[in-house]
Structures are given as structure tokens and as C-alpha cells.
Assembly symmetry: C3
Homo-oligomer: 358 residues x 3
Amino acid sequence: MGMSVSHRLTDIAAQLGGRVLGDGEVRVAQIATLENAQPHHISFLTNSKYRAQLAGTRAGAVILGEADAEATGLPRIISDNPYAYFAKVSALLNPLPEARPGIHPAAIVGAGAKIDATASIAATAVIGENATIGAHSVIGEGCCIGANVVIGSHARLYPHVVIYHGCVIGDNLIAHAGSVIGSDGFGIAMDEGRWINIPQIGRVVIGNDVEIGANTTIDRGALNDTVIEDGVKMDNQIQVAHNVRIGAHTAIAGCAGIAGSAVIGRYCLIGGGARILGHLQLADHVEIAAHTLVGKSIREAGAYAAIFPLAKQEDWRKNAVHLRHLDELSKRVKALERELETIKLETVERETLKGRES
Amino acid sequence: MGMSVSHRLTDIAAQLGGRVLGDGEVRVAQIATLENAQPHHISFLTNSKYRAQLAGTRAGAVILGEADAEATGLPRIISDNPYAYFAKVSALLNPLPEARPGIHPAAIVGAGAKIDATASIAATAVIGENATIGAHSVIGEGCCIGANVVIGSHARLYPHVVIYHGCVIGDNLIAHAGSVIGSDGFGIAMDEGRWINIPQIGRVVIGNDVEIGANTTIDRGALNDTVIEDGVKMDNQIQVAHNVRIGAHTAIAGCAGIAGSAVIGRYCLIGGGARILGHLQLADHVEIAAHTLVGKSIREAGAYAAIFPLAKQEDWRKNAVHLRHLDELSKRVKALERELETIKLETVERETLKGRES
Amino acid sequence: MGMSVSHRLTDIAAQLGGRVLGDGEVRVAQIATLENAQPHHISFLTNSKYRAQLAGTRAGAVILGEADAEATGLPRIISDNPYAYFAKVSALLNPLPEARPGIHPAAIVGAGAKIDATASIAATAVIGENATIGAHSVIGEGCCIGANVVIGSHARLYPHVVIYHGCVIGDNLIAHAGSVIGSDGFGIAMDEGRWINIPQIGRVVIGNDVEIGANTTIDRGALNDTVIEDGVKMDNQIQVAHNVRIGAHTAIAGCAGIAGSAVIGRYCLIGGGARILGHLQLADHVEIAAHTLVGKSIREAGAYAAIFPLAKQEDWRKNAVHLRHLDELSKRVKALERELETIKLETVERETLKGRES
């Protein structure tokens, strides 16, 4: 990342909060793990469990939680949330390169497009007719912004992002390379042996502070809109179908898929490769494990999973075959229980009889 | 979608068929759900189960099936297939914007390319040498059409579609942003501790009326071709490996993956995230549930599934652990059955003996 | 593939090794399957199991393993590894089209970029500032190479590959259309009800002889680098998260996903759609079945699987429901075993008693 400007601990704390212990005059220029840090690095411990790693670090300073405040003699900043503090320090030490404002001569801009003077439009980007690009937004190489799209301020679109016509996006969007916003939803109707397409006339509407990973796709709505609320964070290669609504501050890991008209709550965590079927609803604060199919609505916050346990292939084969007969196995157990009950009753009867006989 | 031209019900029925009941002079300009419709909207009911929703709608007119013909007094069109009728009305009210014929000055066209005069080639699109683009086809921004590719008439390629050299495509293709057609199949051979690549010299051959979703990939064949038959509809982020054949009018939902040389029948429905292993065959009219792995050929039409049922994480953990011992559990049940049989036999013997004794 | 130059069998063997049997003067111009081959084709048999197919082939020559050397009278080349030999013959007969060296006038090259005179930069490609492109490397249409990226020699980037700033790539890279290298890892920290981003300051570092499939994504590291070692082969739509390390000569099938900081060994085979959770370690020579979630580290070479067996939907439903009660079922079997044990003990006691009584 080239050379970073160094900062004194006291200056960092003045800007980001937290409490300095030890020599606040120490200067740090970059962030690193405890293991890799050098004297010009600041490092961090976010879990007391790894406290032992503090001993060997060569870091010039560390970020610690209150519980670990005295776990080292190194210059340090104490924070209630050392992980978030680490993120903020890293952002301070690694500011995004400034994009040059203005429209590259090899960009193509449609009639009526409104591009803020502070925005940056890269070479080979294409801005559609009547599109709006807000202040300080950066549109990367090869991006295609459709007609009438509205993008707020401080957006950062990496190369090759495609946004279809009419979509509306808030401030601070981050969209990584190859992501597609507003493609047609998958709407087809069978008509005399042939599929016919259902026009997708809704839009994608995205709030503020949303991040969209590389090659992620978000389809436009069929009649109403697909909606991504504020603060939603999406990893790479996620598929969001038409008319989905994703609640604010939900985070979705890579390769997850959300089928049409599903409604995901706020502050949910969706694991990698998870699938949410269409028209389902997930409550707020629902956590879905990786590679899990959600086939019914979830009304209650909490963690959910549906994963086949890993095994050596020969063990898997031996065990999995019985899944085809689990209903039968269950019935056989039921039958055994009944028979045993009968035997016990008969024994009791016999004993009683014997008791009478004797 | 801007302003639509309004249509009289009788004019719609004259064009699309169906039977008008009530005031046929009513004009509608757009389509909407029963819930959201306003008086200038036409709405639709495709399932009698939701008939109650008809009562509250503000729609100016509705599309209904025969069974619901008298379920409302609103102006209405009656159709045998109200869902397909809805699709057709929506297409009538929402015609695709006309693309301007001609080659944008910022497009790059290779030597010998044959581009129909009615076709439209957008800025930054690249057309390879000797490629053919049919009448009324639209090639979006940044599309790359390889050398010798043939694309029929009325294709609509959204931005950033890549078609590798030599692929052949019928009429009416719809290909969404970021889709890739004709990339090399994944063919490798181990040679003294290193993988060597097997040249992929087949093509992708696509019939008429095919739709390909955003960021979907279809690999070219290794020796023979990969074939997509007429009327196949594919959602986003689908992976089709080399030498696959997909039968006519099969529909595939997002994130599905089809491994090499699999042959899928006609009129199949493949659920989202489903996986079909290589060299398998699926009969016509097979339906695969979402997130299901198909690990053997399916010879018979019907619906198939393989999904782990969702549970709260703690319940999942408690139950899933037994899958590692299902074979043992099954054997224990078998042992119990044998022992119980023995006990019953002994009891019968004892009773018989007792009967004789007494 | 147009017309190929024909080669004599003896010339092929002189170049690639192997032993010619029969008429070595026979000329072949292309490779084909036994079923489709014509007299100007060379075909191949890689598995003795299919030896019967040799009888009907019209091929002019065939490639065979030692065990099948005498299974036909056709002109033939005998090899220890006929599958690898087939790959090499196909590469000989199907050389990649030569790209014209030089920079297309419609490419955009940033200040300070070092592009070898033998490299080829296609129209609409964008090369970032201070990037390095090695000898004989081909950068396809619309590719975006970020600032300070280093690409070795003989790379072949198909259209629309995006490589973010600072990534370092060895020789002989093949990257298919739409692949993304070096996008930000998915690093977020919760701070007072909002996610904040953790800057991703690592790079992607790729060895020699690596292949990356269409629309595959490889994220840059958070603090340290994401590393792909020599000879790794990746199919389409694979997701590799930040700080993953993939060992040399590992092959990964389409749609697989590898979560953050996972370390995959050398010579592993990862099946299509498989998922490896974060921070896990896989030993060398581990094979993961398709659609399998790996939720714990694997220390031992071998094949592993976790797949729900396919069934007709009604059978699946009937059986799968019991998975929610497997723990209970297991306990019921345990209870039955205990009760049966008790009954057997009682019977023994009774019999003993009876023995004493009589």
C-alpha cells in the first residue's frame, strides 16, 4: 500500500476516542497482526483468549479491550470495542486513493446526464441518458449506468459494474467489479408449451451505506421494487431475486442466494452459500448457517442451520443410505416399542396369574 | 417506466384473445398487483385461493380465469390461462425501448463482420472478425462478440456479455449483463505432478428463444459442442459446464450448476442452487428442488429433492450428530428385532411347554 | 476451429514421446472421440473398460495405454498416460491463435505502465499506472488492470477480467471472462448498530501456471495476502475469500466457495459447489465431494463427503421429517435396548428360579 503517513497514539485517540496507556508519543504508520507487526505498526487484540500472543509481538503499539488493558506494557489504546477501533485506525492509516474529479475523455456520457463536478468518471465508463451521479462519486472503468439511474454521493463503483435503467441508489454505495444491479427478474409464464417472459417493470432501490460484492447480482422487481435498506453489506457472488427486501444492517456472506419476494429482517446474518426460498419472511436478528436452505419463514430471532455433517466418503456412503429408509426405521422402532409393551404386559399378567396360582 | 399509452379492454382482447365482461371501454395504462393497483391499472388473479383480495382492489380492470369470472363486478378479461395473459398484457403495456439501429462510433468492429443494418451496436462494444449479427439485434455496451460468432435476429444483449469465438446462437436471445458464453470447459489432465490443459475445441450452440441471466456462464465443449435447445430459460449465476445438453423449454433457477456432459431433458424445472453431476441424464419433465444435488441419472418424470430440514442451530446439532452413526443405529434396531423375535419364540415355546406340563 | 495442419504419427511421437505401432506415415489433422472420428482424426482410449468402442471407430489413428496396445490394428501411439497424451496431441493440433503484439489504439494505458513489446493489449482494455505486463501476455478486450499490478509472461486474459491494484501474478496465467482478482475481502465490524468496513490492505499473489474460470472472484487479503500457489486450476464462478491460501496443483470445480483464511493443501480436489468454512485447514491430497460443506479442518488425505441422498419428493418428505427427531429416535432405541436387557435378565432369573423350584 505504498508509504503511509505516521500518526502519534495521542493524535489517533484524539480523533477516534479511546484511552491511551503508556507512551502516547509513539508513532505508527500501518496496522498489522500481532504476529507480523514491526515497530512502526500498531496491532490489536480483539479476544482475551489470544492474550498470550501479546508477549511476542514486535508491534510499536496495540489496541486492546478494557479487560486486557494491563496485559502488556506496550504503548496502547484501550477501547470498548477493539475490533471496530482496529477498523477505524486502519481506515485512518489507509485512506482510499483520491479519484481525480471529472470525466475521462474516453468515457461516454448520454444526453441529459447530471454529473456532479466533484464526481469522477473513468475511461470506458458509459453513463446513460438522464442519469444522475452525486458529489464525490467514483464510477470505475467500463461501468455502465443505465438511463435515469440516480446514484447519491460518495459512491465508489469499481470497474465493470452494470446498473440497469431507472434504479435508485443512496449515498456511500460501494459496488465491486462485475456486480449487476437491476437486471430482469426471472419471471416466466407457460403458454401452450412455451415460456413467455413477464416484463420486469419494477426497479432496484438501494439505501445509504450499502456494499455489494464482486459479481453479485440484484434483479429489478417484476411489478414493485426490489429493496435493499440502509447499511446492508453483501459479499461476492450473491444472487438477489426480484422483489426481495433486505432489512437494514443485514450482512450476507458470499454465494448466498435469495429467491423472489423473500423478505429478510434487519440485522440478520446470512452464511455463505445459504439459500432462502421465495416468498418467505425472516424476522430481525436471524442468523442462517452457511450452505443452509431456508424452506419456511422464520418468525423468531436466533441461529438456524441445516447441514449434512462431513465424513470420510466411505462412512458417509454407509450412513447416508439409511436416510432413504428413515421413515421405515422410525416405524420399526415404534413397532418394537409396541411389542415390548405387549411382552411386558403379558409378563405382568403371567406373574400376576402365577401369583394367584401359587 | 414513464408514461404508458392507455388501451381499451376490448382492444386488448382483440389483440390477445380472451373474453371481456363488464365495461369494455375502460382504459388501462399499466399493470399492478391487486393490492397496489389504481384506477388506471389492470390487475390479475391467477389463483382462486386469493379471490378475497378482489374485494378491496382499486384496479380499473382485472384479468381472471374462467372459475373466477363472476367473482367481481369490475370490468374484466376472462382467460383460460390468466397468468400467461397477464404476461402478455404487461408486454403490450411495456414495450421494450427501441434501440437506435447502427453502430455507435465508440464501438469497435473487426474485419469481415456482417452486421445487419437494423442491428444496434452500443458504445464500447467489440465485434470480432467475421462475426454475424442478425436483424434487429441489440448488442449492449461493452459486449465482446468473438470472431466468427453467429447471432440471429432480435437478440438483446445487455452490457458486458462476452461470447467467445465460433459460438452459434439462434433468434431472440436475451442475455443479461456479465453472462459469458463459450469460455473454455474445465478440462485438465494430470501429467507427472502437473495439470495440463485439454484444448476446448467445441462450441456453444444455442437455439431460438433462449434467455440467459446475469453473470451466468456456459462453457464451450471439449471436442463436441455444448448445446442449449430452443426456449430454455436460465436465471442469474448459473454454471453450465462443457458438453452439457439442455432440452427445449427447460427452466433453471439462479445459482444452479450443471457439470460436464450432463444431458437435461425437455420441460425440466431445476431449482435454485441445485447441482447436477457430470455425465448424468435427466428425463423430460423432471423437477429438481432447490439446493438439491443430483448424483445419479433420473429416468422418470417427477419431482425430486435432497434437502436437509432446517432447525434451530442447537436442535440441528443435537440431531445431525446421529447421522454419523445411522448405520450403527440401523443395525441396533435390526438386533433388537432379532432379540425380540427370539424372546417371542421362547415365550411361545415356554407357554407350549407349560401347556403340555399342566 | 477452421483447418488444422496435418501431422504424421511418427512426427507426433518424435515431439511428444510414445511408441508408434502400425503405419506411422498416417496423417491426422484433428482429434475426436472414437464415436465421432473420421479418417483424418486421431482418437483415444483412456480406459480399457471402453475397449469395445475401438471396433467401430472410423478414426485414422488412436492413442492407447500399454494395456490396450494390441486391442486394435489401427495405426496408434502407445503412451503410459493416454489421457495426458491426448491433451498434448490436441494442443499440438489446436494451437492458440496468435495475438498481434502491440497496444490497440482503443486501449487506455496509464502513466508509467511497463508493457513488453511482445505483449498484446486489446481494444477497450485499461492498464493502470505503473502496471507491468510481461512478454507474450495477451490482455483481452475490456480488461482492467489496476495500478502497480505485475503480470508475468505468457498470460492470457480473456475479455473483462478485472485485476485490482497491487496484485502480483506469475507466468502463464489463464483468466477467463469476467473473473475478478483482488476485490476487497468481506471485512466488517459492528460499531454502535452500524457495520464499518475494515480496509483490505493485503494483495492477491498468484504463482505460475494458474487458471481462473469465468466469473470467478478472488478477494485481496485484509492485512496479509491471499495466495494462490503454482499450478492451481479453478473452474467458473468460484469464490475465494480474503487471506485464503490454496496449495500448489489443487483443482477446484465450478461454484465452489472458500471462506476467509482457509488454507487448502496441495493436490486437493474440491468438488463443484463445495464450501470450505473460514480458518479451516485441509491437508494435501484431500478430495471433497460436490455440494459438500466442510465445517472442520481435515488433517488426513482422503475423500470426504456430506450430501443428502436424492429421492422422489414424496419419499424425501416422508424420510427427512425424521431428521428433526433423530436424537429422540436414538434415545428410544437406547431405551429399548435397556428394557430388552432387563427382560432378558428377568427371564434368566425366572428360569433360574424355576430351575431351582423344579
